[in-house]
């Protein structure tokens, strides 16, 4: 069992947890991921590692409450334990030869963009971070990001922070101004990563993206996580999750990410009462 040693709500729908997993923490590097399972009937879900502390033996995960599993996960508290927690999986990000980099994060992807920016910043690379959220209420990790870069640009879809637009709006401004990025790293929703890659292609800047497709084992065995890169079939779990974003077949990736949309809705509906009951029990337990 893997104990949750810290839990913090970053906002209404996004939660941070630190999980005790010394064997994983000892080896984890930016860009890698873990797979967890809550209990015996649970599904295996992959989450990119948002941070690790080899001394404390902990791994930080940040997740959004979207489906049944992540909602259940959010009902667990400090002291509770997860049945399975496997990793570190996938290849670590490669930063070799990077000197001036734009790290771009969108929504929950910011949680993963942060350790990348931090690692690069600590290596002495000049890092600009561009992040985007739907509105100011959904912002996460602002202080951490500020400490991990040279310039931080924050965009909101609705302009509630005074900077209306997408991450591509901010990136294009920098590119037009002639900032000589040698690499761009983009992590976020598939449509955002696709848009960033479209833009950087015009400027001929190598762009690395982190894919998070549906997975089961995470060790190459099932092939569920396949993505087409430069016309070739790749498995995100063993060949990635980082890939050359300009070579990815984005339409296919987006379509594959929706494969179980109907079943996900069905599962949420079926377990709606269950989730409510767990929540009620927790509340009652708190009052006692």
């Amino acid at each position: 069992m893997f104990q949750i040693v810290k839990k913090r709500a970053l906002h209404d729908t996004v939660t941070l947890m630190e999980v005790k997993a010394p064997a994983v923490a000892r080896k984890a590097k930016p860009g890698q991921f873990i797979i967890l399972r809550i209990d015996e009937s649970g599904e295996r879900i992959p989450l990119t590692i948002a941070g690790s502390d080899p001394l404390k033996g902990t791994i930080t995960i940040i997740f959004q409450k979207v489906g049944y599993t992540t909602k259940r996960l959010d009902l667990l508290n400090e002291g509770d334990a997860l049945l399975d927690f496997v990793g570190p999986l996938g290849k670590a990000s490669e930063f070799e030869g990077m000197k001036r980099v734009a790290v771009i994060g969108g929504g929950l992807g910011v949680a993963i963009a942060y350790p990348q920016a931090k690692a690069l910043h600590e290596m002495g690379v000049e890092v600009d971070v561009i992040v985007g959220f739907r509105n100011t209420g959904l912002m996460i990790l602002m202080d951490e990001l500020k400490a991990a870069c040279t310039n931080l640009y924050v965009m909101t879809d609705d302009g509630s922070n005074g900077h209306k637009g997408f991450v591509t709006t901010a990136l294009e401004e920098q590119l037009k101004a002639g900032v000589p990025y040698d690499h761009v790293i983009a992590i976020g929703p598939l449509v955002m990563m696709r848009a960033v890659c479209g833009l950087t292609k015009e400027y001929d800047i190598p762009t690395i993206v982190s894919m998070n497709p549906i997975m089961i084992d995470g060790t190459g065995m099932c092939g569920c996580c396949r993505v087409t890169v430069d016309g070739k079939m790749k498995f995100a779990c063993v060949d990635g999750p980082d890939f050359d974003g300009q070579q990815i077949d984005w339409n296919e990736a987006i379509s594959r990410s929706r494969m179980y949309r109907q079943e996900e809705a069905e599962s949420l509906e079926k377990h709606a009462c269950n989730l409510q009951n767990i929540e009620l029990q927790k509340k009652r337990g708190g009052e006692d």
Partner: protein
């Protein structure tokens, strides 16, 4: 007097039209009287040809004689003296090409039902509460790590523990058993039984650590230098699924057999939404391939509600690598065999889901490198079938994880670990390997045989 019936006594089976709607075990095996009757067909030959056909050298005539005498628990002791997983072997070994193929009774009539008898004895012993190991085997102070808890790893672990080694098995998934739990379906090999066979090993003192991906959280070198293991056996299996390399293979609704079977067997997707892992099976499903895995996938698709299930195979039935029994079972359950047929393209709808598959018909030409006649495309035979689910079951390549993270471990160009056939010894000192990780996809029993040989070789090397 031996029973001179030419026919092997059939085992009890669920009716095909009932069983193709449930996941309960198809074969119900023999009862005591049936087992004694079949066992009395054995001639107890002095030269024991059947034993030479068994990769783990089960003392077949000895155990069968005890069955004929009704001494079932004694028969069990004879089997388990060389085979740690009899309930599994009795069910999934291809006896028709191994022990039973050498049986003298098979010259005229059916061979003795050795597999069915082995299964009966194992099940009987389990039901009649055979106690675990009689006494604890003392440790000899030496540590061996086993990577992978499939048939090769479990066999190697069991044999080494019996010799006194401290054995730890590392498993990447959350449940031990490897292909026995993620690959072979419940209706052929009940998972409760796999769990019991494995818990017997644990009672013997084998330690099993799940959720450990060797190569990622710890390397082979670190296991030896930091964790103090004296030797390692790698039985990591055939990892990466192969695809056909035809257009449309990444559409939603196209599965590798590994993914399809893992969702069903390991993750229990047939109970969704009670369990949380979903699976999608349409009205029509096509499984591409002709091995046991293809049969398993097709029979699972049928059980998950597909009305029409095709096996699409590019050669003829004669060349199919699947066991005859599995082919028969699949046919009885209503699987349609499209033989000498090969898919060329999978088509999707506007949302990226499979809707059809184009195939061509094949003719058999000259024999190829495998000795089987090479299929060639029949001109003008292109046709399209409506399917919503496609499962690609054309084999696996070895998993690259160990290879990529272990300097000094030599591998074949196709990825298999290079290991001596008799000992499992690799190019790296104190590292042994066996099973599908070495041979590419093969059978449970061959992997067990490799695990057994490696255990003996490890013992020899560490005893020097």
């Amino acid at each position: 007097m031996p029973n001179m019936s030419l026919k092997k006594l059939p085992a009890r089976e669920q009716d095909p039209n009932v069983r193709n709607k449930n996941f309960l075990e198809v074969s119900q095996g023999y009862d005591e009287a049936m087992a004694m009757e079949e066992a009395s067909r054995c001639l107890n030959c002095k030269h024991r040809p059947c034993v030479s056909g068994c990769p783990v050298n089960v003392r077949i005539p000895e155990f069968i004689k005890l069955v004929a005498e009704g001494k079932f628990l004694e028969a069990y002791d004879v089997i388990t003296s060389t085979n740690a997983l009899p309930a599994i072997c009795g069910r999934v070994c291809p006896q028709e090409t191994q022990c039973e193929s050498k049986c003298v009774r098979g010259i005229k009539g059916d061979p003795v039902g050795i597999g069915r008898l082995e299964r009966f004895v194992a099940d009987y012993a389990m039901q009649h509460g055979v106690a675990g190991p009689k006494e604890e085997i003392p440790s000899n102070g030496k540590k061996v790590a086993v990577v992978g808890s499939g048939p090769a790893g479990l066999t190697c672990a069991g044999d080494l523990r019996k010799l006194g080694y401290d054995v730890t098995v590392f498993e990447a998934l959350h449940t031990p058993g490897g292909v026995l739990v993620y690959g072979i379906p419940e209706f052929r090999l009940p998972k409760a039984l796999v769990r019991r066979e494995i818990s017997k090993l644990e009672e013997m003192g084998v330690s099993i650590k799940t959720d450990m991906v060797i190569g990622r959280c710890i390397s082979l070198d670190e296991l030896m230098s930091e964790e103090g293991y004296d030797a390692i056996f790698v039985g990591s299996g055939a990892g990466l699924p192969r695809f056909q390399n035809i257009p449309g293979e990444n559409l939603c609704g196209v599965y590798s057999a590994n993914e399809f079977l893992t969702r069903i067997n390991l993750m229990k997707a047939y109970s969704f939404p009670e369990t949380d892992t979903p699976i999608k099976v349409g009205k029509c499903a096509a499984v591409v391939g002709g091995g046991n895995v293809a049969m398993d996938a097709a029979r699972c698709a049928k059980r998950l509600g597909a009305e029409t299930v095709y096996i699409v195979y590019r050669r003829s039935e004669k060349e199919m690598p699947a066991r005859v029994e599995e082919i028969e079972h699949a046919k009885e359950e209503g699987i349609i065999f499209k033989l000498l047929t090969n898919p060329t393209e999978i088509h999707g709808d506007e949302n990226g889901f499979v809707k059809a598959m184009t195939c061509v018909e094949m003719e058999l030409g000259e024999p190829d490198a495998s000795g089987r006649r090479r299929p060639v495309v029949k001109k003008g035979s292109e046709h399209t079938i409506d399917v919503q689910t496609v499962v690609i079951a054309i084999g696996n390549s070895p998993n690259p994880l160990i290879k990529d993270t272990t300097p000094g471990l030599e591998c074949q160009s196709w990825g298999g670990i290079i290991a001596d056939e008799e000992t499992g010894k690799t190019s790296k000192p104190f590292v042994y390997a066996g099973g599908d990780a070495v041979t590419g996809a093969a059978t449970v029993i061959l992997a067990m045989g490799a695990g057994k040989k490696a255990a003996a070789a490890i013992h020899e090397e560490l005893s020097k």
